[in-house]
Amino acid sequence: MRTKWSKKPVSAITCKQVTQLIMDYINNELDAKATKTFEVHLKDCNDCVAFLNTYKKTIAGVRSMKPEDVPQQIIEKVRYSIMKKLTIITFIAYLC
């Protein structure tokens, strides 16, 4: 029986290296050669495609958490407290 040799290119990087480069890849901070190497690996590695999807989704999930509005009452409370202290500081500086 003849063995069919795979014509698939041998990936130049490992899954572990892909994980290390993933943030730069998402941010488009890899150079052209590194990007191509990364994408060649993805073509043949469903594990890393799954990992990339879950990594991106984690970031998107965190970023979807909308910043909470700060209650106006808290702003006014802290402002009043600070201004009171500043008035005292200014008054003492004036006396000295």
Binding site: T14, C15, K16, Q17, T19, I22, M23, D24, N46, D47, C48, V49, A50, F51, N53, T54, Y55, K56, K57, T58, I59, A60, G61, V62, R63, S64, M65, P67, E68, D69, V70, Q73, I74, I75, E76, K77, V78, R79, Y80, S81, I82, M83, K84, K85, L86, T87, I89, T90
Partner: protein, 223 residues
């Protein structure tokens, strides 16, 4: 915090109205002159800086410390520092970067004092690899679509906050500033006194940790 029983909500609103300047230009256009105003002791200029920056400063402090009371104390401390230190602010860095640095340093000092973070072995939630560089557990599951359900069920926020609380203070600060406050890596580095590479490294590790926590919550392996 102070006993404010003698002043009602209307009183506080009237008080803040008195402090407002009439200048209607956007804040960024007025910032330089407001800083000069603070240097000469003008409380109304200080109030404008306070009003513009309070929400972001409070949110950062709140996310780092996890409760309103601590956050209020830190914010108060920060703005009093702003008042005192503006005299020496030379404008070499961006004012908001400088403000963030004060906030982060004050909150982190408080966090270290109260040992608010629970020590968790972060490494346990990071992806694992064999000697040949392949993922240890294969196939790696793609659970990305299930995160949408966590969002729609309003579970994600609690999970993320709980997970972030497990990080060490500096790692927590980096991910909060990056993914919750949308600061650039450079801004984060300037605020926390970290190199760009250090920011990226901590951010990546924190994200891998959060990913691991989500995987475990959804019933999958960490790989």
């Amino acid at each position: 915090m102070n006993n404010l029983n003698l002043i009602d909500e209307k009183g506080l609103n009237d008080f803040s109205t008195l402090l407002r300047l009439d200048d209607k230009r956007p804040y960024k256009e007025r910032e330089a002159s407001l800083i000069e105003g603070v240097k000469s002791g003008d409380h109304r200029s200080f109030n404008e800086i306070f009003e513009e920056n309070f929400p972001r400063v409070y949110r950062l402090a709140h996310k780092l410390l996890g409760n309103s009371s601590e956050a209020e104390d830190v914010v108060q401390e920060v703005f009093l520092l702003v008042y005192r230190k503006t005299i020496t602010f030379e404008g070499k860095s961006d004012f908001s970067t400088w403000l963030y640095r004060l906030t982060a340093n004050t909150a982190l000092s408080r966090l270290r004092e109260i040992k608010k973070y629970r020590k968790v072995f972060v490494d346990e939630y990071l992806p694992q690899f064999n000697n040949d560089g392949h993922h240890k557990v294969r196939p790696v599951a793609d659970w990305s679509l299930q995160v949408d359900k966590l969002v729609s069920d309003k579970q994600l926020s609690g999970l993320i906050h709980e997970a972030i609380d497990h990080l060490k203070p500096l790692d927590k600060a980096v991910i909060v500033m990056s993914d919750l406050e949308e600061m650039t890596n450079r801004e984060i580095g300037n605020a926390l006194g970290l190199s760009l590479q250090a920011v990226k490294s901590r951010l990546h590790r924190a994200r891998l940790f959060l990913r691991g926590k989500l995987a475990v919550h959804l019933g999958y392996s960490l790989a």
